[in-house]
Symmetry: C2
Subunit: 211 residues, 2 copies
């Protein structure tokens, strides 16, 4: 069969993205999923995958790093927004929408990060904190930047079988969380610290057994 619009190169390029998308889906659902599951999901053979990545860990790393870059992109995009609170909201919406937090957080620990990734993680943290500080005047007093990580984590925990509904529900609870972030009586207990929140990035693969 001679598919008109697909030379081998073109097909291969398409596979590049297909595989990445499949990997995202599969590893998001189960970070320990086998490589074969990714290939199956993408509808390609295993060799198509191994042609692109030296090994499983490289794929994971790439996936996570892409997520991190998206996160940074969203942060930068939101920073342009003139209204402080709007910028903050735009940012969170963007991150939740792109389902980026799942990628970066849930996958952290499944591979050894490169120095570049660590640097990007730091940058991401700084950008997010800056956005937070701008919006802080409109938040309850006890809120701290580290809360941001937890908020995103909580949103990422919202999941139902249908991906579309998942996104919709996440919007719902993000809105609820933001309302909770704005006002209310004093919160109990001390706020999270930066260290508590960033611990995932400090783990090397296998250093601890966690799901």
């Amino acid at each position: 069969m001679t598919n008109p619009a697909s030379g081998r190169k073109i097909q291969a390029a398409r596979n590049d993205v297909t595989i990445l998308a499949a990997a995202k889906e599969v590893f998001l659902a189960d970070k320990r999923a086998p490589v074969s599951a990714v290939a199956e999901r993408a509808g390609v053979g295993i060799s198509a995958l191994y042609r692109r990545y030296p090994g499983k860990e490289d794929l994971l790393r790439k996936l996570c790093h892409d997520g991190l870059r998206t996160f940074i992109g969203e942060a930068e995009r939101a920073t342009a927004e003139p209204d402080d609170w709007a910028a903050f909201e735009t940012f969170l919406h963007g991150v939740v929408e792109a389902d980026v937090h799942s990628l970066t957080v849930h996958l952290a620990g499944t591979f050894t990060p490169t120095d570049e990734m660590t640097a990007d993680a730091v940058l991401a943290g700084e950008l997010a904190s800056a956005l937070f500080e701008r919006a802080r005047p409109r938040m309850r007093a006890e809120a701290v930047p580290a809360d941001l990580t937890m908020l995103l984590e909580m949103c990422a925990a919202v999941r139902v079988p249908d991906p579309g509904r998942t996104t919709s529900l996440r919007r719902r609870y993000l809105a609820m969380l933001l309302d909770g972030l704005r006002a209310g009586p004093a919160l109990p207990g001390p706020a999270p610290t930066r260290i508590e929140v960033d611990w995932r990035w400090l783990r090397t693969p296998g250093s601890s057994s966690s799901e």
Copy 2:
């Protein structure tokens, strides 16, 4: 060595609870953790474990069912509270405090549930819904009982290496969520349905690959 206060029977009884506690910790951190990890955590040999449970799945089932029963217990305890909102809050606090939701939700799908468990799950849902309805007058209009499940799910997603801090932080975010549950502008998108929220209970092990 002749430990005064420990006959073989007593020691064995102690192991009963030690093993269960260890299993809870281990499987909460990683639902796919090996049985040997539980034994190690409990400081006993593997045989001590297999003497009590025919197999891994039985242990998981027991753990989950215990969690379910605790959930029901908390609901019943809270129901006695005369003030409607206080009852609702007491219930959620109790569930979060006992870290029961992680048990029931995260473990669901790792074993085939017994009929009794299914029945208990239904009962749990009814009790929780009743508590919710009582408190509804003080919530924002769009809130539905199914939100409860998601709220608990989100709290369970809060986790840091230190267990004590985890509990403390969960209290923090539960408070924030409750504030968000009470007031604010309209929430986006349709509310979750009961089916969307209960899907975990419908899965048999291996029916789907999810973390």
